[in-house]
Amino acid sequence: MRRKGRKIMTLKKISKADVLELLECCAKTWKTYVPLETEGKDILFSLLPTSGSELKEALGKVNLNDERVIISPKDIFFPQLDDMFYFDKDKIKENVEPPAKKLIFGVKPCDAKAINFVDEFFKRNFEDIYYLSRTKDRLIVVIGCITPPRPDACFCTSAKTGPFANDGYDLQLVDIGDEYLVEVGSSEGENFINSYSDFFKDAQEEKLVKAQVVKSQAAKNVKLKVDFQKALEIMKGNKDLEENYKRISERCIYCGGCVYVCPTCTCFNVFDEKKDGNGIRRKNWDACVFEGYTREASGHNPRDKKVQRTARRYEHKLKYDHSVTGSSGCTACGRCLTSCPVEIGMSKFIQEITEDKKGA
């Protein structure tokens, strides 16, 4: 699958002016997901129509430059609401998405990291057919961040998850002015370039130098720095963080916003809906910060206190994920902070426990 540091024979580039045309071509044979501006001017990963005036209109809304993609592309594989199967009185009809080639174009490096992290989660122990069937024949095209999309919240350089990806992509585009230099991360990525060779032109070696300059400037543009490594060590150690959790729990309104926008949060509920004898069993996103999340039928709730749920959220991301997978569940995208009505976020928590600053 995806290999690190793969070398290709010739260096390739694509002109920015050609990108929309490439997407138009791809939309015919791939389910193509790309950041689109909504009516309300938000930017969300959306599926391009396959042809016609609808496609033309959608292409007019593609926005690869403004990088405020609100939700990571996790919902392409893990939709907020997922119909698992339909049933009537006696029959069950499963609803697994049929295999389809998917192109996810314009993924942020931190989100690519998250996608790979979540893939591994849904493969571990039992395989989740609903998630994994959507990841088959998938191509991830990353566009590195020249400026941080959330300038006061992104801290990818601290977590080493950006502003450019080192692995976990099929192709990565480096913005070198009027064109993107193309980095190939997998044989699938290489095949893609060959299939659309009209768009991908040979690039001179000196473009590599330019790309390097762009990358190091991009890293400098990420102003928010936290001591991520120290935070992981503190979480692993015996330091009592109850006071920190308590302070956060006094301010947190437990709305679940941070976990919904988190690209690595995967908790879900399962419930049935029924009408006239026909029904659906569905999954929908759930959140560990909700009081009802752990409440048992008997009424007993092992995590009934706010402070326990706050601890759970931070410890899961920074401690347990790390001890199970070897990497933290936080990709430093900063969305938890920008979505929070009371300005709590992972970067602030890390600053607080590493004693950079008070107040998560």
Partner: protein, 278 residues
């Protein structure tokens, strides 16, 4: 890739009333292939559902030594389980599994076995009790110490009588509140320590019940010389998927549904105290 979320139809063959709010359902899969391939171990659970109502994790209380059917002992506590209590023989449930780890079996051969349970805590142990009873000569003494709020709330009343008659097997019962012709003990389950020897020598203890009971029983077992690794219990948590995905039963870095529900007290000690809830 198997779709783990798809349940299979199972017909209720009999319903045994255990107490005012608890019944044991004997079910048989409609599909012969599923019936023959559903292999489970003592202590595992299944996700049991009524389509249109929902799904819940329920211990399999039958013994894997007794083939062809499954038994679930279900207290009508939540909206699904209350609905199950309205079902009759011939109605269907939907079942998938088995899930979770299992109680040790081979490892405890030759040992003295203690079962200490409270209320609805006996059903998860019943599978192991019966597999031991079916291979009785391979184990040492077996003592079952069982408590409930009232005599009516004891599960498996007939089986308790039956187990008592098996050589080298003791059954000790206690209730918080007695009435009628109750001949056994009154008081919490740890009061039974006064009635029978609880000796840690070559022994292992299985504990299941409400959190407060578990706490006091474990204290008492440790006082009696049991090592943490020889105290075996189940953790109960709200679950949705049963396969380590939905996240509800995540404690520390463990998923109760995959890494548990069976844990030794030694393993439980490694889970942070605030996540343990016992």
């Amino acid at each position: 890739m198997k779709n783990e979320y798809l349940p299979y139809k199972a017909i209720i063959k009999s319903i045994q009333k255990e107490s005012f709010d608890t019944n044991t359902y004997k079910v048989v899969f409609s599909d012969e292939k599923i019936r023959n391939s559903f292999d489970y171990k003592q202590g595992q659970f299944a996700e049991v559902s009524i389509l249109g109502i929902g799904e819940a994790p329920i211990s399999i209380t039958s013994s894997p030594t007794r083939k062809g059917y499954l038994e679930f002992t279900i207290r009508g506590a939540g909206c699904l389980t209350k609905k199950i209590h309205q079902l009759n023989v011939g109605d269907s449930l939907y079942v998938r599994g088995p899930y979770g780890n299992a109680f040790p079996y081979e490892e405890i051969k030759g040992k003295n076995i203690y079962f200490i349970a409270g209320g609805i805590g006996l059903p998860p142990l019943r599978s192991l009790i019966n597999i031991i009873m079916d291979n009785r000569e391979e184990f040492g003494n077996v003592k079952i110490l069982y408590g409930a709020k009232t005599p009516d709330e004891l599960c498996f009343k007939q089986e308790l009588e039956m187990w008592k008659k098996i050589p080298n097997t003791e059954v000790w019962l206690t209730v918080d509140k007695s009435y009628g012709d109750w001949k056994h003990n009154v008081g919490v389950v740890t009061e039974l320590w006064k009635k029978t020897d609880v000796c840690s020598k070559n022994a292992v203890a299985f504990v299941c019940g409400p959190p407060i009971m578990i706490k006091f029983v474990v204290m008492k077992l440790i006082e009696s010389g049991f090592k943490n690794k020889d105290i075996i219990m189940t953790l109960e948590r709200y679950m949705k998927c049963g396969i380590g995905k939905c996240g509800h039963c995540n404690v520390g870095e463990k998923f109760v549904c995959v890494d548990g529900p069976v844990f030794t007290y030694e393993e439980i000690g490694k889970i942070p105290a605030k996540e343990r809830a016992i």
